[in-house]
């Protein structure tokens, strides 16, 4: 084989191996780390496995925030103005978390129909609305 063709062959093999490896990595990593987003209505209608990590969101209902006095437990209700979902969380809430503001949480459903959040997403602008929630509100109007 002449040297030029040989070096093209090397390059081709390297590209092939690299891309195959990457594709395999991407597919396997993606299938494990993809979190679907559900509105309170969708959660009510769909039958969601309690072991699956999902994201939920909506507006924080006014007067629904209950903070414990001696622990970091907090619960609040999110609404899409059709259905509601009670969220339980243990931890410090982001600064921009407030009543009547949009919120997105990540976690899973529990047997009693509430949601156990492991993460409450913080946005650093008070006017900002997570796109998921904005879309939700548009469609329910």
């Amino acid at each position: 084989m002449n040297p030029i063709r040989k070096q093209r062959l090397y390059a081709l093999i390297a590209i092939l191996i690299g891309s195959l490896l990457a594709t395999w990595l991407v597919v396997s990593a993606l299938s494990e780390n993809m979190n679907l987003f559900y509105s309170p209505t969708e959660i009510k209608e769909a039958n969601i496995n309690q072991d699956t990590l999902i994201r939920a969101g909506g507006m924080v209902k006014k007067g629904s925030i209950y903070k414990s006095k001696d622990s970091l437990n907090v619960s609040f209700t999110v609404t899409d103005y059709q259905n509601e979902l009670i969220i339980n969380y243990e931890g410090i809430l982001p600064d921009l978390f407030a009543e009547n503001a949009g919120v997105v949480v990540r976690g899973n459903l529990t047997p009693d129909g509430t949601f156990r959040a492991i993460e409450v997403l913080a946005k650093h602008d008070e006017n900002y609305m997570p796109p998921e929630v904005a879309k939700l509100l548009d469609s329910s109007e």
Binding site: Q7, N35, K123, H124, D125
Partner: protein, 635 residues
Amino acid sequence: MIPEIGHIILISHLVLSFIGGTLPLVAVYTKSKYFYIPVKKLSVFLFMLILMSFMILVYSFLVDDFSVAYVSQNSNINLPTYYKFAATWGAHEGSLLLWILAMNAWLIGFIFFNNSKDEDYTSTVFSIACQVMFAFSLFTLFTSNPFERILPIPPLNGADLNPSLQDIAFTVHPPLLYFGYSGLLIPFAIAVAAMLFRKDIKEWAGNSRPWTLMSCSFLTMGIALGSWWAYYELGWGGWWFWDPVENAAFVPWLLSVALFHSLIASESRGVFAKWSILLSIFAFATSLLGTFLVRSGILTSVHAFALDPERGLFILGILAFFIIGSLLIYSIKDLENQPTHSYELSSKEFGFLLNNLLLVILAVSILFGTIFPLIYEAITDGKQISVGAPYFEIILFPFALALGLLQGVGLYLSWGSSSSFKFLPRLIIESISIFALVLIILFILFDNLYLTSFATIFLFSWILMGTLQISKKRNLNYWSFLRKRAAVTFAHLGMAILTLGVAVVSSYSLEKEIIMAPDDSIEFGNQTILFKNTEEIMGPNYFSKSATISFSDGSNSYDVLTEKRTYIPSGQLTTEAGIKTELFQDLYISMGDNLEANIWSFKVQIKPFIRWIWLGALLVAIGSLLAGIKRVRRV
């Protein structure tokens, strides 16, 4: 009146950049003196225009001209003067102006320091850059005019700059990032001109290299500052979130690193010509794509720019025009690509090929994960998903490992023929000794060893020794080391230090959420944390509740202040973390909620070696800047 002058100047910039984007090309292709315009003078004139326009916007901020809509949305009478100045690029419209300014500055740099005797080629580069600037000016004027007025009754006071942006690091971070992004315009314009003129690969690669290196340096600094700012300002101690906007900067960074490595091979050996051209195009494309993703608001991101689909479509249009245009030229022009040298499997060329392959596949995988929610939404008819940080970590790890292993031996490889691998046993032994030494130090410092960090710590030792040995081997004296090897040594050492920082901080970090009343203390890691007292503080445009916390390791104690600030105009709440920085660790505490009376929740963290991440990034930036400047002066 003054904002209108700024507006008119911006319009003249638009018109002139259109002329600059067309006439020189007409002159080159018709060979007619009639269309000739002096590009040097025009580039300076364009720069003066955009600079004046920008200064007028700065002025409007400084004098609190709230009749300008952009000023009224992003400033306030009570905002400290320095932040009024920095608020100019605090949101979308001003950022764009700064972006055009940065592109123009790079263009001047290229026009004045480029030594090519080929005037047609130089003015073609100029022309293509002008076309991009024209598109940006058009975009600014039509969708995001910073000089728009609120008339006849302007508001008496502005809405204020987003409080989390009222910070020194923030004021420097966007300009650096914009200079990084916009610098990629030059390699792009050079690549297109090189195709049109079928330039010799060695020549155009040499033209392109310094600008690619410098853009990469600015991108590195911009990204690192952003990471540092997020670490202390967002209040929760993370340094990288895999947020779409971070990925939007990371992807062009990866491609610019790939590009300048590929250009080394192109300039020295005349290989990878087509590849370097495609990389130049795509590095620029991803910098535009990042803007599109961030500005259109179609992805959930911590960066809250106004959500405006119209803007998104406009940027997509610009992107499509330049990418399709340049790829069309690429497919039409027959780029003769017979390598002048052949190379073996163990040659430097092949090393660069692997380096590029890894960087590009990594970039594509990260980009894919970033835009996958959009793809998914499109194919499932509106179902929304997010791709979590673990996806990106799973992808990054094997590629970073391979890149690091390659980096350790890369500097030893020689051009063309088989390299000698006699250095290998020594490198392995030395890396293992350094690896063991680091483990001992970590054990002494933190009483613990984590298996998960071993691979990355070894990588640090490997890159470190691979870089140091080769520099020592050259046996250069101090001065010629600085001249010849300093840039690459700094950059590669920077990567080693960054790797160590990431390795340690991701395994050894401790965090805990606690509840304390004044005078309570709690044991955490090797520290005793004492909540001393709370205090009310009045700032220039905020009031805050603050807590004084003392960290004590038994022999020394140190007080930090953490605050819960309420900014007055907007009522927005921010958390200011209290951080004690040491060489080997940061002690980090941030105030949470007031549970009752004087009882507060806190999040406390120990972040070992976190500073090393930014220190490493700084070295990388210095190294690539040195390499870039050196090459500008040489040509």
